[in-house]
């Protein structure tokens, strides 16, 4: 019986897998040789390439989302009052600007921590202002409410349990938000073990 000892990754019989072509930059200095001196590409370059593609994809998703929501927030300047049943006010210009900055901060935090884009649901609030709700899963979410008087409230839900409403300053939001993400990530990892 003839045994095929080839280890070349180009041998389709031995290695039928999806082939991703790295860019020149990514494959630079990664050429190696197998036992038969056939040049092959180091698989670590593939992994690096996949990681980069994945990271770029996440960032593209975030950037597209952020762009569309900034445009949406801008459009609220023309919403007018009486946009929903009952007394309802158009968000103030200041609350719109504050919401844009807060959304930008939140998105940057998520990208930095390699989080996939959660569902982020936005709308004005009838009493004047804007809120957005980050929904990580059915029992974990964070609600930011930016009132017309520029106060910001942050309400967190962890495993279905709600925290007290916290009035927050933009200078501490990043820290509180990072803490939430870290705890959520640890819980998620823990759940995947048990």
């Amino acid at each position: 019986m003839e045994v095929n000892t080839s280890t070349s990754i180009f041998d389709k019989k031995q290695a039928p897998f999806i082939f991703i072509i790295p860019t020149d930059e990514e494959t630079e200095n990664t050429e190696v040789y197998d036992r038969e001196q056939t040049p092959v590409i180091d698989t670590s370059a593939f992994q690096l390439n996949l990681d980069n593609i994945y990271k770029r994809k996440i960032e593209d998703n975030y950037n597209d989302f952020l762009k569309s929501r900034i445009e949406y927030l801008e459009s609220l300047k023309n919403l007018g009052d009486n946009w929903i049943t009952g007394d309802s006010k158009q968000p103030s210009l200041k609350s719109i600007e504050k919401a844009k900055n807060l959304l930008d901060l939140v998105i940057k935090n998520l990208i930095e921590k390699n989080f996939s884009l959660p569902r982020i649901l936005m709308s004005p609030i009838p009493t004047g202002g804007i809120s957005f709700d980050l929904r990580f899963d059915v029992d974990n979410s964070i609600l930011f409410t930016i009132h017309d008087d520029e106060n910001i409230e942050m309400e967190c839900e962890r495993d279905g349990e709600y925290n007290e409403v916290v009035e927050v300053d933009t200078s501490i939001i990043s820290g509180l938000f990072s803490d939430y993400l870290r705890e959520y990530e640890l819980d998620t990892r823990w759940r995947s073990f048990v």
């Binding site: 946009w83 929903i84 049943t85 009952g86 569902r119 649901l121 609030i125 609600l143 349990e161 709600y162």
Partner: protein
């Protein structure tokens, strides 16, 4: 004040440009109103007969009245009822004198109480919406 029992349906109306394009779920913000105004289906069988539709509020939200909205719990579903989050859901008809512009609205009702996240999440979980095209 007559309380609205569980199982009843309330309508709320919003303008479509209040929401981001492509957002296919109910956002929290539309319920963050301590006096949440709506119409009781019992007195308005056809939601499109409301003056809100003529004013361009073509997104119709249907709220299914239930105990989860009336008495939100912490943690949700399985915890204890939080007194501060309780909601009063009652019929509050409007007379012609109350609203000379739109006239009387015999279906008008209110969901009264602080709208903390737990309350709003209960409202979202028990609501649906559609848009008139």
């Amino acid at each position: 004040m007559s309380l609205i029992p569980d199982g009843e349906v309330l309508f709320r109306y919003a303008k479509p440009n209040a929401f981001p394009e492509g957002q296919s779920e109910l956002p929290t913000g539309i319920f963050q109103d301590p006096n949440l105004s709506c119409d009781w289906k019992k007195f308005r069988m056809d939601p499109y007969s409301s003056f809100h539709i003529q004013e361009g509020k073509s997104v119709v939200v249907l709220i299914n009245v239930c105990d989860d909205i009336r008495n939100p719990k912490n943690p949700k579903r399985k915890g204890e009822i939080v007194d501060d989050w309780k909601q009063e859901i009652f019929h509050d008809p409007i007379t012609k004198e109350d609203d000379p512009i739109h006239g009387a609205n015999g279906a008008h009702s209110l969901i009264r109480g602080k709208k903390k996240k737990a309350v709003v999440d209960a409202l979202i979980a028990n609501s649906d919406f559609y848009q008139r095209t």
